[in-house]
Each structure stands twice: as C-alpha cells, then as structure tokens.
C-alpha cells in the first residue's frame, strides 16, 4: 500500500456510521397524496412540463403496474404498503448551477457525504439527487468541452436536441412489462441523470452521482440513462444513502445503459441505503459489437434488496464483467446477483461475486446466464463465494444457466462456508485480536471488488465492512 492511501484510510476510518443517519427537516416539502392513481401520475407529469409521449408512457406503465403480480420467489415485500406510501417527494429547491446556491441544509447533507470534496479531488462531474429531484449538478469544463453531456434527465428532455434521443431509448431496455416495480418506475419516475458520450470520446476520470432519500416513508424513482457512442469510454459511479426510519422506504430506480460499438462503460455502485429501505432497483446494459460493460457493485444497505444488473451482449465480441459484493447484516434480506444474455457470436461474460451473511442477515446470490442460438463461440464463467459468519444467518445461491448453442463454454463454480479457524489462529498468533483477524479476512474476501473501485470508494467500502464487523465476536 502506498503511503498516501494509508493516510487516507486512517482519515476515513474516523467517520462513524451515524453520519448516514442524520435526518433533515422535511416539513416544508410538498408531499403528493399517498396511493397511486392516474391523477397522481398526471400531476407528476404536469409539474415536470414534460412531452405528451412521456405522459402516455407513464399512464401505460401504470396500467401494467396494476396488472402485474408481486414477485413471490424472493424476499417478502409485505412490509411495503403501496396504497399508503408517499410516492413522490419534491425537495423545496430547484436544480442549482452552483454549489453555493444549494440550500444550506441540503448542502450540509452532501458535504457530510463528501460529495463536493470528491468532485474537487478528481471526479469529472457530480449529480446529486435529493429525494426525487436533482438538486446539484456540475461537470468539469474539460469534460463538457469534449462534448460530453451530463445533466438531469428532465432538463435534457426540455432540450429538443436530446428529447428525440431520450424518446428512442427511455424504458426501451427495461420495459414496464419486465416486472411490477419496473412498471411502477415507468409510471412515477422522477429525477435521475442523462449522460451522453459522443463517438470516440474517452473520459479518463469518472462521473459521479449520489442519491439520497431523506423523507420518511418515501419512494425514490430516479432514472439513469447513459449512452456511450461507438469507440467512446466512460466510468460512472453512483452512491446511495438514506437516514434510518422505522417505516419502510422504497427505491425503484431504473438504469439503462447503451454501449456502442467498441465502446466501454464501467458502472460502479456502492449502495448503502439505510436498513428500512426496500431497494427494488433495475439496471440493464446493452452492448453492440465489441462493446464492453463492466459492473462493479457493492450492496451493504437496505432492509430488502432485489438487485440484478443485466447485460445483453447483442453484437459480436461484446463483453460483460460483473464484480459484486453483498454484505447482509442484522435484519437484512438481500437478494442480489446478475443476469447475462449472450446473443451474438464470440461474446464473453464473467461474473465474480462474494457474499457475506452475519447477525441473522440473509444473502441470496441469484443469477442467470442465457446463451441463445446466436452465441456461437461465446464463453461465460460464473464464480460465487459465500461466507457465513455465524449460524444465525442464511446464505443461498441460485445460479441458473440456459444454453441453446452448441459451440459455447459455460462454466460455473460456487463455494459456501465460514472463515477457517486455522486462518484466524494464524493471524492471532501474529498478535491480531480475533476481531481484527476476522475483519482482515473479510476485507481480503472483498478485495476483488474493492480493487476495482476508485480509492475513495474502496476506502468507504472497507470502512463499511469494518463497521459491520465491529462487535462481530460474541
């Protein structure tokens, strides 16, 4: 480890988990009527002054929402009362051009989350979502000079130059018919980001967005639409957090990623929603010939998580890699994994996941790898490892493979078990406490994910693990 990263780690180690738990006064904010009717959807649409086609899409999605059943194969979502949840919360400020104009309390929130600081240090752009609306948005001049667009999605919709492009891509990868919460998203989506990277443009530092759900019992439904044109390259990072409440919050966002020919997109997420969150998020990427999508995903928060980023490899030589870690602690049931479709010759996919269950937490790794008849000479490997830290928790692995093409190579391996006593003993014999030893082993277990993250996020992740591991020794 270099000296500077050592220093950084020590700094970040000082933060306390409670930094994620502060609650801002939300009394001034405008709450929409609870429950979900076409009127509410019209109201949302009207406030946004959006094109008619979008309202139609919303109303169609709402119909589908009412038709689709609640999924019965995953964690229970009985704790969500869709008829009474506040589906939309609008913060009291509009989007600001300058950080100085952001209201103090919201600014304080993001300051505490370290966002502008991160931007200053090296991130190309920052979008910050507070409840349902984008409140802060900025991008380094150099990136915008390269022709890269990074804006709120509503803002982009108002620009005739982008409206057509959004029309052609919006909810095309994730149709509302996909599942009930995709339909819900289609009906009430609000906020989110639009990113456009023109042909051949390679941005070598990441764009970042941060979501924060602040209102009690609220839902957040942001939509992220990223188009990376042929031969272009982008790294996008999202982070999420929310304060703790004793009622359920809901996050049903959608992320649609379009990766052009020979283009490259890396999408990194550190999710740390508070433990009253139902995180029913949908993420999907499609790659053209030679396109490359990389998912880096860390799931730490939420009461219930359903999260399976999906890669559709639609052009020859397209590639997908998924590197994920899920840490399910007390009270959490996190059902995570990924989906891959090999739908063109010579495509390649790799999946590497780690999951950790502790203090009664439930972690399920769920995946599907589908190789269609078009997948001649394609290959996929799936590797998942699960760690049980005690005998009061649960860890399930449900990896499906569906192969309809002869000339493919699909490999899968998974292991489950606990930390070997011999390893703990070895480290303790060198002077570490049991807690330190176990934390070190768990950090090592998570290493394949953390090494793929930018340093600050890797540090945040290690710190989250450290916090989770504290007091792990009964």
């Amino acid at each position: 480890m270099t000296e500077s990263s050592e220093k950084k780690r020590t700094q970040v180690d000082d933060i306390d988990r409670s930094m994620y738990d502060f609650i801002k006064d939300e009394s001034n904010q405008e709450h929409l009527e609870a429950g979900l009717t076409p009127e509410i959807v019209r109201e949302i649409s009207e406030k946004k002054n959006e094109p008619d086609w979008m309202l139609e899409k919303r109303l169609k999605a709402l119909e589908i929402y009412h038709e689709l059943p609640i999924p019965d194969w995953g964690p229970s979502i009985a704790g969500l009362d869709m008829d009474h949840i506040v589906t939309y919360v609008k913060p009291e400020t509009d989007q600001q051009a300058s950080w100085d104009d952001v209201p103090e309390d919201i600014k304080d929130t993001f300051d505490r989350l370290g966002i502008p600081e991160a931007e200053r240090s090296y991130l190309a752009g920052v979008g910050a979502q507070y409840d349902s609306e984008l409140v802060y948005h900025s991008m380094q001049e150099s990136a915008s000079k390269m022709g890269i667009v990074y804006s709120g999605i509503e803002e982009a919709l108002e620009d005739p130059k982008w409206e057509g492009i959004i029309h052609d891509h919006f909810m095309k990868l994730i149709p509302p018919t996909d599942h009930k919460f995709a339909a819900l998203h289609g009906a009430v989506w609000s906020g989110g980001s639009f990113v456009y990277v023109p042909k051949g443009v390679q941005l070598d530092y990441p764009l970042q967005s941060y979501f924060r759900l602040n209102a009690r019992g609220a839902g957040q439904f942001e939509h992220t639409l990223i188009i990376v044109e042929d031969d272009a390259s982008l790294h996008f990072i999202e982070g999420c957090s929310a304060p703790k409440y004793n009622v359920a919050n809901l996050h049903a966002g959608a992320v649609e990623l379009f990766v052009g020919e020979r283009a490259h997109l890396r999408y990194s997420t550190i999710e740390n929603w508070s433990k009253n969150m139902y995180n029913l998020n949908t993420k999907r990427a499609i790659c053209k010939e030679g396109g490359d999508i990389e998912w880096i995903s860390g799931s730490f928060g939420s009461h219930v998580g359903y999260l399976y980023p999906m890669s559709i490899l639609n052009g020859r030589d397209a590639k997908s890699s998924f590197t994920g870690i899920t840490f399910a602690g007390a009270g959490q049931n996190l059902d995570t994994g990924c989906k891959v479709v090999l739908n063109a010759p010579r495509t390649k996919a790799s999946v590497e996941t780690k999951s950790i269950s502790k203090d009664g937490g439930v972690s399920t790794f769920r995946s599907s790898v589908v190789a269609t008849k078009n997948a001649e000479d394609s290959a996929a490997t799936v590797s998942c490892q699960s760690l049980m830290l005690d005998d009061r928790s649960r860890s399930d692995t449900i990896p499906a493979m569906d192969v309809k093409c002869k000339n493919v190579d699909i490999g899968h391996e998974a292991t489950i078990g606990r930390i070997g006593d011999d390893k703990v003993f070895y480290l303790m014999s060198r002077g570490l406490s049991e807690e330190e030893a176990r934390t070190m082993i768990v950090n090592g277990f998570a290493e394949p994910v953390s090494k793929e993250l930018p340093l600050e996020y890797a540090v945040e992740m290690n710190n989250l693990i450290k916090l989770e591991m504290e007091g792990a020794i009964g």
Binding site: W73, G74, P75, S76, A78, G79, K244, N246, A248, K275, N276, H303, V304, A330, G331, Q332, N333, D335, D359, G360, G361, V362, T364, R366, S368, V370, K373, A379, S386, M388, L389, D390, D391, R392, S393, R394, S395, D396, T397, I398, P399, A400, M401, D402, V403, K404, C405, K406, N407, V408, D409, I410, G411, H412, E413, A414, T415, I416, G417, R418
Partner: protein
C-alpha cells in the same frame, strides 16, 4: 384411465425467475392408458408392505427425539430495527424452511423428488407398495424389471428398508423390449438405518415413444450410506426426481447420474439433498451428452440446514453439447443457514474442453470423432457397469437402434 397433467412436478424448493421456465416440470399423462402394475421383483430378501418404511421412520423419529429433541431450534437473529419493520423479510421458501425446522418432524421433512402429487399418483397406479427388507446385519440383493406395456401406465412402488448394518443392492432396469407407447414409472422410498448401506442402480433404455417417471425419496440415519446410480439413455420424455434427507451423523448420499439425450428427447432432473446431520456428506455428480435436438433441465439443490455442523455438499453437472439444436438448463442451488459447512457446486456446459480435445486429437481423433466417442462411450459405460445380464441386453438393444452395429462393434 383419465389424462393427468402435473403442472408443478419436480419443483425446486427455492424458485427463481419464471422467465427461465426452470422452476419445475409439467408432466402430461395421456388419456386411455390401461393401469398396469407389472414390475418383476426378484430378491433373496424378505418382502413386506408399506408399513415397514413407516415404522422405520417412526423408530428414527424416536431416536432423533431422544438425541436432539431438547435442542432448541434456532432461527435467524433479528435486530430491533427489523422488528419495527415486521421482522426479517423472509421469502416464502425461507419461511417454509424455518417452519420445517421448528416442527422437528422427520416425516414432515421427508419428501420425494417429484413432489407429493406425482408420488401419490404413481403409488395409486402401482396398486400396492412392496417393501424389500434387509434385516439388521444382513446382505441382500434385488433385481427389478419394469417393461413398457403398450398403451399402458406401468407403475411400481417399492420401499427399500435396510436395518442396522445391513447391505442392500438393488438393480432396476426400465426397458421397452416390444414396440409400443405408454408410460413407465417407479416411486421408491429408501430407508438406511444406522450403518446400513443401500445401493440402487436404475438404468432406463426405453424407446422414444415412451415416457418414464423416476421418483425417489431417501432417508439416511447415523453412519448410513445410500448410493444411487441413475443412467438415463432412452425415453422420449423422462422425469427424474430424487430427494434425500441426510439426518444421521456422518450419513452419506452419493448420486451419480449419466445421461444421453438424442433425437427429440426431453430430460428433466430434480435433486434435493437436505443435510440435517452433523458431518453428513453428499455428492451429486451428473455427467451427460446431449445430441440431436434433445433438451435437458437439471435442478440440483443442496440444503445445508442449521445444526448440520461439519456437513459437506458437493454438486457437479458436466454437459457435452454435441449437435446444434440441443438445449441445456442447469441450476445448481446451495441453500445454507449453518456456518460450519462446506458446500460447492460446479457446472461446465458446452463443447469438449480444450485440454481434453487436444489429448483426443493427439491420438488421432477428429473433433467430430471425439464427440461421437462420447455418445457411444455413454452406452458402453452403461453396459460395462450393468448390474446384470438383463440390463446388459437392454443397453445393447437400445444401442443397436442408436448406433449402427452397436453390439457387434462396441461390446
């Protein structure tokens, strides 16, 4: 006899996305079949009826209650915040699994691989259940022959009960020596008492006009071993469901599946192995070849249940895809709520592995010849490992219909 449709047969305990169509199998039994129950059982062991198995399970329950009855059943720990949200948001399966543990009932936990509905139907069609009993310390063998009966449903229900320290070897051959169409099937309950060793070899060589149902439920007590070899070479549609409870300390269940899919065959496998016992071991080992436009689905579930300290579960499915038009679905699940375990599974699906292919090529085989070798080798392997002459003849008979001069050239 009426037509029957079983919509959720051979379901895996923890389901996944419906769009994959992998959670269970739909089995159609055509109308107007005659009800046959014509299996031939030859054995040197004493025979009995269904009460033998039920009594053996009751004895096992009594022993289990004595050993573990007072042991508290732990559930997942829940913190205060989750309590406020109504507790841990368990899935339907996870709730059911918890309830099963709470019930402390071995009989309630015991299931058969194809599910209750199909098991009950097979038992009803079989008219009566016969049990083959290996008394304590004895060694016995049994041979069962199930032949396709034209326009008939030929169903068999057998219980195998091996008492303390007994050894019981059973060979089952399912064949269609005469042309025709219909359904064959067997439902087996296998009880291996302390230190008992039961081996079952079931070889199925039906022509494509037949459907076969292979349903098994296994129970292994302390230090018991059950070994099942399933060789699926024929039948237009074949459904194999096996569930097993590794209840005993140091109990072992090994399942070896060899299959050859060809023509338009559809093969469905469902395996569920539950580790209740400490230091219990299971191996699910499937190896097969899919040719023609055959389709296969394999659901394998290893469940490492809290309390089964030191349990080890291992699961592999290796599939060679030989022709365009084949389809393979594999879902190897591990469910686990005990930390002191080792579970692993692997699958390889596709063409011959690069190192194997180079080896075969370096000995003069073209890639096509190498693939063909895997097809015939599956038949030859079944022949070489056949438990008796009847089985050898059946494999040779089917082999001759699939490979020119099979018997003459290869055996």
């Amino acid at each position: 006899m009426e037509a029957r449709i079983f919509e959720h047969a051979s379901a895996m305990p923890a389901p996944t996305w419906y769009f994959l169509h992998m959670n269970d199998a739909t089995i159609e039994i055509p109308a107007q079949l005659s009800c046959e129950a014509q299996a031939v059982i030859e054995t040197d062991a004493p025979l009995g009826d269904a009460t033998e198995f039920v009594e053996a399970m009751q004895a096992a329950q009594a022993a289990w209650d004595k050993a573990y009855g007072d042991r508290p059943v732990l559930t997942n720990a829940v913190d205060e915040q989750a309590e406020e949200l109504g507790g841990l948001a368990l899935s339907a399966y996870q709730k059911k699994a918890d309830a099963m543990e709470q019930s402390k009932s071995l009989a309630a936990a015991f299931t058969q691989g194809m599910g209750e509905e199909v098991s009950d139907w097979i038992r009803e069609m079989a008219v009566k259940t016969q049990s083959v009993i290996a008394p304590a310390g004895s060694t016995h063998t049994a041979h069962v022959q199930i032949s396709g009966v034209n326009m008939g449903a030929n169903m068999t229900a057998i219980d195998l009960v091996a008492h303390e320290g007994a050894t019981l070897d059973v060979a089952i051959i399912v064949d269609s020596p005469t042309a025709g169409t219909g359904v064959t099937g067997s439902s087996l309950r296998i009880f291996a008492a302390e230190g008992a060793h039961v081996t079952v070899r079931r070889v199925q060589t039906l022509d494509d006009t037949w459907t076969d149902l292979d349903d098994m439920g296994l129970f292994a007590a302390d230090n018991a071993t059950i070994e099942v070899h399933q060789t699926v070479l024929g039948a237009g549609k074949t459904y194999t469901g096996l569930a097993g409870d590794l209840c005993g300390y140091n109990s072992t269940i090994n399942v070896y599946t060899h299959y050859l899919g060809h023509g338009e065959q559809e093969l469905d496998f469902n395996y569920v192995l539950r580790h209740h016992g400490a230091k219990s071991t299971c191996n699910l080992y499937a190896n097969g070849v899919l040719a023609g436009s055959s389709k296969k689905t394999l659901r394998g579930t290893i469940d490492l249940i809290r309390g089964g300290k030191g349990a080890v579960g291992h699961e592999v499915d290796n599939v060679l895809l030989v022709d365009e038009g084949v389809s393979n679905k594999t879902v190897p699940n591990i469910l686990c709520n005990e930390d002191d375990v080792m579970g692993n599974h692997g699958a390889t699906i596709g063409h011959i592995k690069a190192d194997q292919l180079f080896y075969l090529e370096s000995r003069g085989l073209s890639p096509e010849q190498a693939e063909q070798m895997f097809v015939t080798a599956t038949l030859e392997d079944a022949w070489l490992n056949a438990a008796n002459d009847v089985t050898k003849q059946a494999v040779a008979r089917l082999g001759n219909t699939l490979v020119e001069n099979f018997e003459e050239v290869y055996l």
